[in-house]
């Protein structure tokens, strides 16, 4: 079983009375135990594809399956529950809440799922410690560097032990060294046989961390999954 599958996914948006098609029948697989990169120029549809695979956007047509469950057939409530329990999110701008400590920020998925706050923060602080932030759990985001903030975001994405981690330009706001550090953590997270990591990026400095690279242009996959082999790893 693949961690995620998209089959002939079409996505159209309304714009000024016109319907604009941004994905033209995209099919792809995301395997377990690997980091899959989805790359392409701006406006190619990679962020839309990431949104669909993470269950934050419903496709106009096509089937989307994550961990064997059809997202395109789920109710909104089931989709929210699925995202909360099975998917971890890492955003380009970290999206940490400035008035919460690192521990509290990382605990949000657990608290949202009904875990008592004290217990959730304890688990989040343990996750932060595993990512090397043991001394920073009580700090607020403004007291942390960009790399440290992204590590807090990684802790938030991992704390509830999701099966699929989706990352939107996770290194775009970081310098090279911090970006490499973040990618090493994601590489570590992807080693688990029951977890997959999907990264949308156009930061070619980190391509060497990819197990598979899927290239998308004008809403179409231009390099099929099969061509993005292990050989591409470390190619950059």
């Amino acid at each position: 079983m693949q961690a995620a599958r998209a089959d002939n996914v079409v996505m159209e948006f309304e714009s000024g009375g016109d319907r604009i098609r941004v994905l033209h029948g995209v099919s792809l697989d995301i395997p377990f135990g690997a980091i899959t990169f989805l790359v392409g120029p701006s406006g190619s549809g990679k962020t839309t594809m990431l949104s669909i695979l993470s269950g934050t956007l419903s496709p106009t047509e096509g089937a989307v399956e994550v961990m064997g469950e059809r997202l395109d057939r789920m109710s909104d409530a089931a989709l929210v529950r699925f995202r909360r329990r099975r998917i971890g999110f890492i955003f380009q701008q970290y999206n940490l809440i400035g008035t919460l400590t690192a521990g509290e920020n990382a605990a949000i998925p657990l608290i949202a799922d009904g875990v008592p706050a004290a217990q959730a923060v304890q688990r989040a602080e343990a996750a932060l410690a595993r990512l090397g932030l043991a001394d920073h759990v009580r700090k607020f985001p403004r007291q942390l560097s960009g790399g440290q903030q992204q590590r807090v975001a990684i802790a938030r994405a991992l704390v509830h032990e999701p099966a699929l981690i989706v990352c939107d330009e996770p290194t775009a706001a970081l310098d090279a060294e911090a970006g490499q550090g973040v990618m090493r953590l994601l590489e570590e997270a992807a080693k688990s046989a029951d977890r997959a990591v999907l990264v949308v990026t156009h930061d070619d400095r980190i391509y060497r961390f990819a197990d598979r690279i899927l290239s998308i242009e004008d809403g179409r996959i231009v390099s099929p999954p099969a061509s993005s082999s292990e050989d591409q790893r470390h190619a950059h």
Binding site: R84, I97, T99, A112
Partner: protein, 379 residues
């Protein structure tokens, strides 16, 4: 998630304090102005409420409120006394007059003439001493609350001589009357003395005060008196209400206070709605991230409502506290006599503030509820 919401709000101190102080100011404006308004309306009823013994007031049919009497014939007193169900009836004079103090200062006053024997209408405060003092020839009793308007230098007025309409009188004692809307100093005399010091007129009797015999209701007695005398007879509560209605119908007070209270509501709505909307707009990406992560719309609604209710509660407490302090510290000022913070005002303001913050929060959060969580991935 409520704890997270409250930390989000309290961490943004400018907005948190702005919201709490804004709602506090609006609550203060609403409750303080309402309390003053109710106090002023009560002043319209006080000339009647201050005469505790009278169950029915008999008057000329043209009278609209207690401070504007139309004189009736002295015979009216005897005709009223002859009505079945009347236990007692006493004359009562109430009218404007002028008083010149010993140092020559002239002041407009409300002169009240009380039945010589019963002194019905004398306020209960210090009644025994005042009743003793008023019995002397041309003796007057002054209201302590308003005496400062005559004796502004703070001298003790008791024992001084004065003139009412060029008639020499002696200030024999003090009492404490309920504040009347007219705001003039109140001076009490025996009825016959009051009649003698006022300018000659064919009729001078302002009102006949009546007590009902046991088993006869004031309403029934009033109807009997009207039927028998052709005069108007109103129960104490009806006539007190007429004083309130007079202020409502004939002054700009309801409009001006209505505007002030309305401004309080507008301030509360504008501050709450704008600040909450601003807070949510600034946190839109964070709310988007929370939605993507799996926070439900119900949880987000709970978060925003929790934030709004907390600042609403704190602001309301500040406002009510401010009004209570205003009334507490103002009670020694005679011009604020009779003002109080009624529980209905406290409860009404609570309901209004709750409704305003709830509606403001709901309208602000609608944008988040409708928001596509995928927005967090867009630039």
């Amino acid at each position: 998630m409520l704890g997270i919401a409250l930390k989000m709000l309290m961490g943004d101190r400018v907005k948190y304090l702005g919201l709490a102080l804004g709602i506090g100011f609006a609550t203060l404006l609403m409750t303080q102005q309402t309390s003053i308004f109710i106090g002023l309306l009560t002043w319209g009823a006080n000339p009647v409420l201050d005469v505790r013994e009278a169950q029915v007031w008999v008057m000329d049919p043209r009278v609209r409120q207690a401070d504007q009497p139309e004189a009736i014939s002295d015979q009216a007193l005897y005709r009223v006394r002859s009505v079945d169900g009347v236990a007692w009836a006493a004359p009562y004079y109430r009218g404007p007059s002028t008083l010149r103090s010993a140092d020559g200062a002239l002041a407009a006053v409300t002169l009240i003439g009380l039945d010589n024997q019963s002194l019905i209408g004398l306020p209960p405060s210090g009644r025994a001493a005042a009743a003793e003092a008023i019995r002397g020839r041309n003796a007057i009793i002054v209201d302590r609350n308003t005496a400062r308007l005559i004796f502004s230098d703070g001298r003790d007025p008791v024992g001084q001589t004065a003139e009412i309409n060029d008639n020499r009188v002696t200030i024999a004692g003090e009492t404490r009357a309920l504040t009347a809307f007219a705001g003039l100093p109140i001076v009490y005399m025996k009825y016959t003395d009051a009649i003698s010091v006022t300018p000659p007129e064919r009729n001078k009797l302002s009102y006949v005060l009546v007590g009902a015999r046991a088993g006869v209701s004031p309403e029934e007695l009033a109807a009997r008196i009207e039927a028998a005398t052709g005069l108007r007879a109103q129960t104490r509560s009806q006539f007190a209400r007429a004083g309130v209605d007079y202020i409502i119908n004939n002054t700009g007070i309801p409009l001006s206070f209505g505007i002030a209270i309305g401004l309080g509501v507008v301030v509360a709505v504008v501050i709450t709605a704008l600040t909450l909307a601003m807070f949510i707009t600034e946190n839109l990406k964070n709310f988007g991230a929370l939605k993507a992560i799996g926070v439900t719309n119900g949880q987000i609604l709970q978060m925003v409502m929790g934030q709004a209710w907390l600042v609403g509660f704190i602001g309301y407490g500040l406002g009510i506290g401010g009004t209570a302090a205003f009334i507490y510290f103002g009670r020694s000022d005679p011009s604020l006599q009779g003002f109080s913070l009624h529980w209905q005002v406290v409860a009404g303001a609570a309901v209004l503030v709750f409704a305003i913050v709830t509606a403001s929060a709901f309208f602000s959060v609608r944008r988040v509820l409708k928001m596509d969580p995928a927005i967090v991935f867009r630039g």
